[in-house]
Symmetry: C2
Subunit: 309 residues, 2 copies
DNA sequence: GAAAACCATGTAGGAACGCTGAATGATTGA
DNA sequence: TCAATCATTCAGCGTTCCTACATGGTTTTC
């Protein structure tokens, strides 16, 4: 509804190269290049300038993008309002989320949506938070459940509406005979000298562990890298170190480990966000999905409180 | 930039029929009908319903139109801001206005624009106020100088930005030997018994005369209909009646008539407006055009004050 | 009350638009 | 220096979208 070429320009701005933008939009670089050239001609302003083997956006392009964000958000609002005019919503709704969220929050939402809107095809995609933003931005997903990290887009990014769902506390995972194993709670600072098991660099979860330790005043002494909960738990169970796990994380239970809630002010936690395209939030199906996810989140918070007490 | 089909829908809403909308957009009715049908399919809502031999907009369509107005206005703002990023504006700027305005206000603006922006092709169209709104709405003109009348779109119409330029006082035109000819000013109520020369019904000027007399408490006794100032003046000069002329109206001067300023509270006047598409006002060329017209208007107001004194 | 005018919509054909794929040139990193 | 990455151009082709004409229904007119 809004000229495709504006979305192309947004993608180029976001990815930095024509090629990556084309890939995100499932076009060839050739198509994006031609379209943006023509857009530039039509508007009478230069939008892209060569910079090395890439392109750089001109100030005119950046000015245009600000308005483009407004336009796309307004169109999302229009779509959402139109969706209220149909008796029986149909079409597709795609949700995405990172592993824990995808496991804990999305399935109840899918069930609720199928129940309430039987004609809507509901799909989910498990993806890293950064990819989740991509999916929502590109329109291939309508809703994402992600973590707040320093690398995610700003909460005021005009392309997205982001709302806090809940804060998931973090626990320390130790061997049953570890010196801290009997503690009811533990502060992260007490673990500064421990051997650590963390996820591999580049993953969201690695960032989280490093950031948590950094805010507790130390850099973890990393002994092992493990991306899966299962692997990390096994390493802890063998006494190779301690690890950080989020409260909702689940694994097989084959390994004997102790989970100790962290204390602190604030309590170390990761913030869970629901992300939609700006303006899209008021469509009935998305509204319902957000409601279901929020309710599930509240339930989980309740369960977490029980555990803690 | 905004999907053409939204403009088609806006035109159907404005004109009431697919055929008239198509004509305004220089399409065939078939094209408009097909496009709107496809739009309806894509959005999953019914937009048009048959009503007699015409169509009626559904509530979904009206909802969509509200957002469409916002979208188009935002795009105009984007275009205007982009125009600030080019060193030497080019392209075309079309202004339109009703006869007096076209004669008095537009030529200085054209001259000023040509001087300031030599590469911009400036064009003018003389048209009735209602047609002026059409031209601006359809994008075939960028600026219109019109009269405020009861039939023009509301000042808060989201499709337009309308600003007051000035109020043009009205004068009574009488034969040199008329009983009122020696008066310095005259109130419209004193002319209730006169024979009147008015423009033909359906014209803006007819409306103006009838409305002015109505607000003075009488219905004019119409003796002759004349659309051109020249003809009306000739009739007055032959003693066939009195007529209303606006202060800026000019004619050949062959006919011997007396022009008497009207008095009253407020002084009978017609309000001159500058109309642009919503959001378009900040482009450099349009900004300059508005400035020129405003300046010319102020000069004329000054000249009018001199005349009156 | 029948005919004419008006209006929306459907179908078929043609023009224009927009995409793909391969080729080119330029830059960066190994 | 060679390979990889990136933007851009050109030719070709499929899709989209408009026009022209025809149809069916409604309103107005004589």
């Amino acid at each position: 509804m809004i000229d495709q070429r504006l979305q192309m320009l947004r993608m180029v701005a976001h990815h930095g190269t024509v090629t990556a933008a084309a890939e995100a939009l499932r076009y060839t670089p050739s198509a994006v290049s031609q379209q943006l050239k023509q857009l530039s001609r039509e508007l009478g302003v230069v939008l892209l300038e060569p910079e090395g083997r890439q392109v750089r956006l001109t100030s005119a392009a950046r000015s245009l993008l600000r308005h483009a964000d407004t336009l796309f958000a307004e169109w999302e609002r229009a779509r959402a309002e139109l969706a209220r005019h149909v008796d029986e919503p149909s079409g597709a709704l795609t949700m995405c989320g990172f592993s824990t969220a995808a496991a804990a929050l999305l399935p109840p939402a899918v069930a609720g949506l199928r129940d309430r809107f039987p004609r809507v095809r509901v799909e989910t995609i498990e993806a890293e938070p950064s990819e989740c933003y991509e999916l929502v931005f590109a329109g291939r997903a309508d809703l994402a459940v992600v973590l707040l990290t320093p690398t995610t887009p700003s909460l005021s990014d005009p392309r997205f509406d982001q709302r806090r769902l809940f804060d998931e506390p973090l626990d320390l995972l130790v061997h049953p005979e570890h010196r801290l194993a009997e503690h009811a709670t533990v502060s992260l600072a007490e673990t500064a000298e421990e051997a650590w098991i963390v996820a591999r660099p580049g993953t969201t979860y690695h960032q989280l562990t490093m950031a948590s330790c950094a805010s507790a005043g130390f850099t973890p002494n990393v002994a092992h890298y493990a991306n899966e909960w299962e692997t990390g738990t096994a390493l802890v169970a063998h006494g190779f170190g301690v690890a950080l796990v989020s409260r909702l994380a689940r694994w097989s239970g084959q390994h004997s480990v102790v989970r100790i809630p962290l204390r602190g002010d604030p309590i170390p936690a990761r913030r869970i966000l629901a992300v939609t395209r700006a303006g899209a939030g008021t469509s009935p199906t998305l509204d319902h999905a957000l409601g279901m996810i929020g309710a599930t989140a509240e339930e989980l918070i309740g369960a977490m409180a029980d555990q803690r007490g």
